[in-house]
Symmetry: D2
Subunit: 353 residues, 4 copies
């Protein structure tokens, strides 16, 4: 079993690609819940490699070692941010650290890939955007959902006019835990919906109303957001850490068609209903009639969203394009979160945006 | 085929019960969508009979005739309210007519069974309650859901401490239509939830926040209510006339157990989850741990709710008991609806109760 | 409340239609579980009336009286079969009585509407068919499912080539009870599937294999049928009286599309999947590739099937047309049931048809 | 980024465990669909290591390299079977190769872990069992399902009498593809059910009836198995490669309780219904009454089954215990498959076991 079995002797094994100029080198900070996915996906890209991982926890670094035995690791993020052989800093840490880490990364000339939500405040987000601009560096905020087959398909259905003008967007995103120590349930779960709405809906919300309650550790664990849009379009987000069941369902009502997106369905995630209302008669005697036709579940691409997102970021860097989920997209979400918090504290007082 | 086949000649057919003193005679006003159920259920009771039906529409009266060939009918409600042989007026008409009809009925010495919502305003409700009190007559507001096996079972689970103190009550009640001309979606769909919450939850809500939007005929067709209760308990109701799918799901989170009530399930309407959160540690280092145990779906009685409700009203009249779903229960719901409307008009401004 | 309220005084109430020549007069024998639906539906037709109901049980006749106070009733079926004012005998009794009752009805010159399964034996069915032929009378076997929106839609999808040549038809029809004393689970539940397959599938089955087991009262309560068709098409029926859950699901695989029919779904009963398999390569190196495209749920008409069926039978009688669900269709099902019983007794021995 | 980041310098990183006598060294043959899971799970065990992987395909070996950069690989299985540093040969190849590979492994003194189905014939299985016996080596057949939380929970519910004597076991296991070139759908899908039934049910089946049909590549792609057990217990397995939807549902009816196991449910995989039938009266007038009580979904352990299975095999080897899923268990399944094939060829002719 000794020598002959080395992989190097594989017939036909290709020599490693060494065109360093075409390879984006990524350093990953944070190897908690989501970090392993970031490492795996940037590492598996043809045009990128993860060249180091940083985490303050030794246990996390041992997990790195198990999965990637040869990966250099460190407990000091400055090691990583100052390393010359790193092009991108991927920041996969709690939100309260994003600003400091991203700022240091940009100042060290690194592009930044950062978890959602982008920052704790709009002021931080604006500062980072400006800094990146000045240094000609890219920021991508990891709004992973925008790269799922489902969201891309819904975008298409809105853009091509299938749904028609939107009446409402109503998302329920509830489950048991995971409780965060530093943020409330809105900052934990709503960024998904806020980034998706920002991506799908052409108009921007004009005001937000948030209600909710805290029961356990001093931060809201149940919350309800209403977003007022122009033209009577309305958005609603129901987030809850205390639900016995996991729900990921979004109803979207349009003038022409209506849609249910159940992200927990294995196959038929999106269902388009040829259902609606037609109004006739005059204002004094309005007649409402219902249309109930076929239902249709378009096939949704099943590729891992993060894989597509990573490839897209690499592409943006190599061909100097601005990603659509850039710092500005991140800022939009942070602005909504800030406004929601202000409204929540005042028990639903409307906050204009 | 001639004579011998008359039912009168049936061997063993019991003579009709004619103890008039034990029979409550009901006159029904309104034979639209819900009226036929009222007639059928009061007619089928052992201790009540429907003795007349009133509707302004000839078409509706023809439907009465088809179902009950011998039933006296009229287009004039005063015929019915002034008839000496009627003990109860069942008012199954649009909400804007309730006050006038119920007042006339009470003034004519009739007990009143009235559809939900009770009245258009709290002032009207209070006046009717006082009038009934003065005349020693009963009012029952038809909050049918309180008589379903599901709601009675949930009440039991709350009362016997199975769920523990409540964290939240979150109901989604959406479907396509039916649009009403005179009321918005809150007045149409939320009375169900408001009456159930009034029945289930010991504390009374302190404030309400309502948001929503109108898209078609000038009244809100999508709306979201938040109810603030004492002790951080929170309620939420999502009502929508523009949903492609029908949803009737309520999540109830308690300290000990959590519950999902899906009223559209044929069998397992109620599911109790042995799931929850335990907190430990001190305020500086809070540890959250999750409990995920068995699920349990208690058998729910399947008797038609309206049948039980009708029997209960007859019993209340015959033994001079006050029904729990009386005018006061109706008033509670109207008060919430009024407050919700005020909040809705001001885009979520909190309204104290 | 006295005189003025009689329905006769309704403004605009039409005088009763008395053109007796256009009205088919139906006598119903049997008022158990299904009888009330038969009475209601033949009675509500414009061109038919139920003129008498027969049941040996006084209790059943009292139920007739409650629902239809003026309906003549009898305990003697000969009263009904000999009555001159009856055109059709609707036989809604246990299967072992069908032959005798239908024969007497035909001999008395009545058309026959009879519950499924048609008869206990093919010999009986053939005799009745011949008798009806001779007397120029119609037989309709109540295969109600053939008149549902779902089955008619599936027929369309097969006829217009949407599904393509069929690979298989696989039905699961299980629930808890109702146990029958006189027949096994095959005779109770499989006639639905057998009549549907007879209606949908152009080819006739060539052989049947049945397995199953008895656990309680001496007749099989769990059974599985396989039907061999020409061209490798195969059918399968799973029937079970001992299932804790009710299932009514049929998978139909076609060369072009595949279909799932879940009859318990309120809305999307039929789902068409653009899924399939393509074969390429030669016999030595066959390549299989899968096609997984959109899913589509066509709208299914929701009218009560029995209403359509009753109207159709009346139409067949008045215009002297042969119903497609006639005695021959009934015979096809009985032949399959007989064969299934023979196979079942021999533990799956194939029975050629 | 140079030296300081090596994982070797991790504070607190434990030295590698080198007690070779306690470590079982596994060589894996076959790295197709399932192989990666086998490698990952035996490699992650505390007391085992994968020390080489063999596959005839260079592409597969390159996938090994990506996942495990330092893993020795080979295209020659004899390299692996003759290597002195290997204790266990894990055979994860098509079924027609199992006999030859397992025999060579045993002859070389290796324990054998082999995919299901064990072998192509009972004769092969018996020979391997005897060979292992003679050489004092272990065989484990990879009936992974026996190590899932669901199956272990059901076993408990049967063993502790919760379900009572069994009436039937009815499994539906259908999906689109994957077509196999060398085996039919019975050999592909039914081994799961056959091994589970062998594990759960105390009695052994006495006879089998199989029906089915071939449509594409000459082997049956749709098939139905009935298993006759003592005491009127009956088993049924529905397997299909041409289903548009994936179904993994098993109904189990017992005298005391009934059960539905839906393996595709994320949470409530097992539901126990307090439903059943009670018989009373004598043979001439049998009364059947139904019991419909609560439903209960016990929590099911979610650990990866293969991880538990791998640990169990290692434990069996180190402490010289006979695994319950040994060659004999594998033989039971092969015997059923052989019999099913014989019955299938004769269109359902019963085959005694």
């Amino acid at each position: 079993m000794a020598t002959g079995l080395r992989i190097d002797s594989l017939p036909g094994a290709a020599p490693e690609n060494d065109h360093k100029e075409d390879i984006v080198r990524v350093g990953v900070i944070g190897y908690g819940y989501w970090g392993p996915n970031i490492v795996r996906n940037f590492h598996a890209q043809e045009r990128s490699r993860v060249v180091a991982v940083c985490d303050t926890s030794v246990k996390s670094l041992q997990r790195v070692r198990q999965a990637h035995p040869e990966m250099p690791v460190t407990q000091e993020y400055s090691d990583l941010l100052e390393a010359a052989n790193i092009d991108v800093a991927a920041i996969v840490t709690p939100v309260w650290t994003h600003y400091e880490l991203a700022k240091a990364a940009l100042e060290n000339g690194k592009h930044v890939f950062v978890e959602k939500p982008f920052t704790c405040t709009t002021a931080q987000a604006e500062e980072l955007i400006e800094l990146a601009e000045r240094k000609h560096l890219k920021i991508m905020v990891d709004h992973t959902f925008l790269f799922t087959g489902a969201v891309r398909r819904i975008r298409q259905l809105i853009d091509d006019g299938t749904l028609g003008e939107l009446y409402y967007y109503d998302s329920t995103r509830v489950n048991l835990g995971l409780f965060q120590h530093d943020v409330n349930v809105i900052w934990d779960l709503a960024p998904h919906d806020l980034s998706i709405m920002d991506y799908l809906i052409k108009e921007k919300p004009e005001a937000v109303v948030a209600t909710g309650e805290r029961h356990l550790n001093g931060v809201a664990d149940v919350a309800f957001l209403t977003l007022y849009y122009p033209n009577n379009m309305i958005g609603h987000i129901n987030v809850n850490w205390l639900s016995p069941v996991k729900v990921r369902t979004t109803l979207i009502g349009g003038v022409k068609k209506m849609q249910v997106w159940n992200d927990l369905e294995a196959d038929e995630k999106i269902k388009i209903y040829d259902k609606g209302v037609e109004m006739s008669g005059d204002v004094y005697k309005l007649l409402v009639s219902y249309r109930a036709g076929d239902m249709w579940a378009p096939r949704v691409e099943q590729v891992e969203a993060l894989k597509i997102e990573a490839a897209y970021f690499i592409e943006c860097i190599l061909s100097d394009k601005r990603p659509f989920n850039d710092g500005i997209a991140g800022l939009h979400v942070v602005r909504m979160l800030e406004a929601a918090d202000r409204s929540l504290e005042q028990k639903g007082k409307i906050v204009q945006l």
